[in-house]
């Protein structure tokens, strides 16, 4: 299977690539070239850092190519900021639009409670019909590191609690996102990546 990983030059892709290769797939990385997006069987958008970095997707013309691919039904997985980019935007970078597949906006955790960023292993409560989380038990732990989060909506496939409930997994049709790092979440994370690779087109 050909998996295209999108590099928007914000951080280190090594761990994501390593996990995908561990699962036996053929990985192509693109940071501008549209051909690997056009021919992809799966697309993964990893991400760390600032929401504004995703503007590179617009600047390189990758955004319309990704939009066309997901409209063709190519399974898409956004990780961390890559998941947040699936929303309309984030208060981290006002005025910078995301893909808008999900209509809501991402916001920062409130001040004055627990520490921000939210760093460490926290549990997920999956919805029973989530394809991405098939076989993941309620209460399974995954590794998070983020300060901004997505709201819980009808498209939330799993929620997590940190001061308040937020969407730790989103899923609608072939478009999916995880706020945590499956590539760093031990067996549970590898299972989620494997599920993603096995979702039929």
């Amino acid at each position: 299977m050909r998996v295209t990983v999108i590099d928007y030059k914000a951080g280190n892709l090594t761990s994501v690539l390593k996990a995908l290769r561990h699962l036996g797939v053929d990985v192509t990385v693109t940071d501008a070239d549209l051909a690997p997006i056009e021919s992809a069987e799966r697309i993964v958008l990893p991400g760390v850092g600032h929401f504004a970095a995703t503007q590179r997707l617009d600047a390189t013309g990758m955004t319309p190519a990704i939009r066309a691919a997901v409209q063709r039904g190519v399974p898409f997985l956004g990780i961390c900021v890559g998941m947040q980019w699936l929303f309309a935007g984030s208060t981290e970078a006002p005025g910078h639009a995301g893909l808008g597949w999900f209509a809501e906006e991402c916001t920062r955790f409130p001040e004055g409670g627990e520490k921000v960023p939210h760093v460490g292993w926290n549990s997920v409560t999956p919805k029973a019909d989530s394809r991405l989380l098939a076989g993941v038990e309620p209460g399974e732990f995954v590794y998070f590191t983020h300060s901004y989060k997505a709201p819980v909506t009808a498209d939330t496939a799993a929620s997590t609690e940190y001061m308040q409930l937020f969407a730790s997994v989103v899923e609608r049709g072939n478009v999916m996102g995880v706020q945590f790092h499956p590539e760093k979440s031990s067996e549970a994370g590898l299972k989620i990546l494997r599920n993603f690779l096995e979702i039929p087109r």
């Binding site: 280190n12 090594t14 390593k18 460490g120 399974e140 609690e161 940190y162």
Partner: protein, 259 residues
């Protein structure tokens, strides 16, 4: 619920994990890749690899060691020791580390924190601080002295103000080692850790002094630590992270135990 992290630390010299008291009388404790995998399998939430060699020759060995260790490791992996420039950090990231830990180099050139953070994200920058309580100071704990060069030289900084500066400059986490407790196995320095943890919003990893399960319960409750690091307690089969975490769960500490 967010859990308290148990981090296994591997001190590496010339490609092997070593154990000694204050880096003296080093005993071979095994292969880094094998030990890291074992710790992860046995429930460690994270792995830290600290290079204690720091010679030019040793750096190449280190990158090879990092690569081998990262290959089959699917929990967060931090590498520290001898990282002085953005280029050093980049090499370690490319070899497979998720975070770098910087100590002396950050004190010498605090801009290094933001330089690495801008390229690789704040979550990838751990600022390690070695501190010793200062009995002469008005507040011996908050004004604990920060040391560099493996604890040999005072840096002229106080622990709380330096931790705050590190956070402002974009550190993602603080790895705080109490030099008073390190190597004693008599318990973490809860007061020192709590002082730093209250002063910053980023996670604080406590290090130095782990000897018993109660020490870990204490550093999470009284010490306000977000994570605790230990090396010797895990080596030579003394205890596994899982058995440690099972006992912590019984004392009401929230920890990750697989379903």
């Amino acid at each position: 619920m967010i859990t308290k992290r148990i981090i296994a630390c591997l001190d590496v010299h010339a490609g092997r994990v070593v154990k000694g008291v204050q880096f003296v009388d080093l005993v071979d404790a095994g292969d880094p890749a094998e030990l890291a995998a074992r710790h992860a399998r046995e429930g460690a939430d994270e792995i830290v690899l600290l290079d204690i060699t720091a010679t030019h020759e040793g750096r190449r060995t280190l990158l090879d060691t990092v690569k081998r260790t990262a290959e089959e490791l699917f929990v967060p992996f931090t590498v520290g020791g001898g990282i002085r420039t953005v280029e050093d950090a980049e090499q370690v990231f490319l070899a497979g580390a998720d975070k770098v830990s910087i100590n002396s180099a950050a004190l010498k050139n605090p801009e290094l924190i933001s330089e690495i953070g801008k390229i690789f994200g704040s979550q990838a920058v751990v600022v390690a601080i070695d501190a010793r309580r200062d009995k002469e100071a008005a507040d011996p704990v908050c004004d604990a002295q920060v040391f560099v060069q493996g604890g040999r030289k005072p840096a002229g900084r106080r622990v709380v103000e330096w931790a705050r500066e590190a956070e402002e400059r974009g550190a993602g986490e603080i790895l705080l080692t109490s030099m008073d407790s390190d190597g004693t196995r008599a318990g973490f320095d809860c007061e020192l850790t709590a002082a730093v943890s209250r002063a910053v919003s980023i996670p604080v990893i406590a290090s130095g002094g782990a000897g018993t399960v109660d020490h870990f319960a204490d550093i999470f409750k009284r010490g306000k630590a977000d994570a605790a690091l230990a090396a010797s307690i895990f080596h030579f089969g003394v205890s596994s992270a899982r058995s440690l975490k099972e006992q912590l769960a019984l004392s009401g500490i929230s920890v990750r135990l697989s379903c």
